[in-house]
Amino acid sequence: MTTRTILPDAAPTWFALAAAAAHVDHGGAGGFVSGFTHPILGWDHVAAMVAVGLWGAFLGRPAIWLLPVVFPLVMAFAAAAGVIGVPLPFVEAGIAASAIVLGLLIAFAVRPPLWVAAVVVGAFAVFHGHAHGTELPQAVNPFAYAVGFVLSTGLLHAAGIALGLLVARPLGVLAIRGGGAVISLAGTGFLFGVL
């Protein structure tokens, strides 16, 4: 009796169990999907998240891990403020500005000290976090929503980091700086309601 023998036999049983479990908790699944898609369906969020990862990879170590660590931590604090009801003006403008500024920093290959980069990213994380936080209390399952949106935010950072690893290839720097310019232009479009 080997694994190769058992696995095909057990598969129908597992699929049957999975199908049964799929009808148990719509709240959790709905909350997760809602949270997961919230950053992805907002193009302004996507542009800024990818820009954070891209800039981190462009700056190299330790920024490559520090920026994607700082962002969710600060974002969570801001989201907490949003949940409690602390008002924050110009949230949408701040989100659009994050894409513009981060895109420009990448396009012009700006390499500030690490702490400055962390502060810039953290400052913009406030706007993104507040926007997410104000939606959190209405979620079907807040825990699943929080897990979903933190996970998708991290995956968007990872996508930016993956693109940023092009920096090691010929013409990679040019491609990344071009990507930064596109993000910045998109941010301008978000700010003026063109996109």
Partner: protein, 202 residues
């Protein structure tokens, strides 16, 4: 060919038998023990606290963690002894998870005394959260034993698993992934804490 068919048939029979066999409790009270065993992993507050504490401990080599595991065990006992069944440890567990995960994200493998203290606190809170509802003393004892075993094993396996993987995966990207994971856990814990506070303020 016939032997192969027989093996497949045996596999199907074993899979079909697994459910009914597991449906019986061979030992009285063992169901409560298993329910307790899974308890730390089925509630968000305890699961996040366990994950965060495990990540924090996983920043160190296992040889240096004896004191931290001892502190967590003492904490578990203290939490069981001093906790009140009517109290709600969830906000404290979310707060601890946010703190431990933030520390694991920003400074992994540093400040062992602080990590020992956080392990003690984590143990105490998990012990408090493991207190079962009212019921027959024998059932409660089984459930508590299961919860404490689950929490202790969870902590041990998470920290040990990270240590093992770090030994196997020498790539720097693994340490980066652990930091990012810790930051995500901190963010989720903080959000849940804020949500709880928001509800109590409203």
């Amino acid at each position: 060919m016939r032997a192969r068919v027989a093996r497949h048939a045996l596999g199907v029979v074993l899979c079909a038998c697994a459910g009914p066999a597991a449906a019986h409790s061979p030992l009285p009270g063992i169901e409560g023990f298993y329910a307790g065993l899974l308890h730390p992993f089925t509630t968000p507050d305890q699961a996040l606290a366990l994950l965060a504490s495990g990540l924090l401990l996983g920043g160190f080599d296992m040889q240096r963690l004896g004191v931290a595991f001892g502190a967590a065990t003492i904490g578990l006992a203290a939490g069981l002894a001093l906790g009140t069944p009517t109290g709600d440890p969830a906000p404290w567990l979310f707060g601890l998870a946010a703190l431990a995960a933030t520390f694991a994200a920003l400074a992994p493998g540093r400040a062992l005394p602080l990590v020992v203290f956080l392990s003690l606190v984590a143990g105490a809170l998990l012990g408090w959260a493991s207190l079962p509802d009212a019921g027959p003393p024998r059932d409660r004892a089984f459930t508590v034993a299961g919860s404490v075993t689950g929490a202790a094993l969870g902590l041990l396996y998470i920290a040990g698993g990270i240590d093992l993987l770090r030994d196997r995966i020498r790539a720097q990207v693994f340490c980066i992934a652990l930091r990012v994971l810790a930051a995500w856990i901190a963010a989720i814990a903080l959000l849940m804490l804020a949500l709880g506070l928001g509800e109590s303020l409203a």
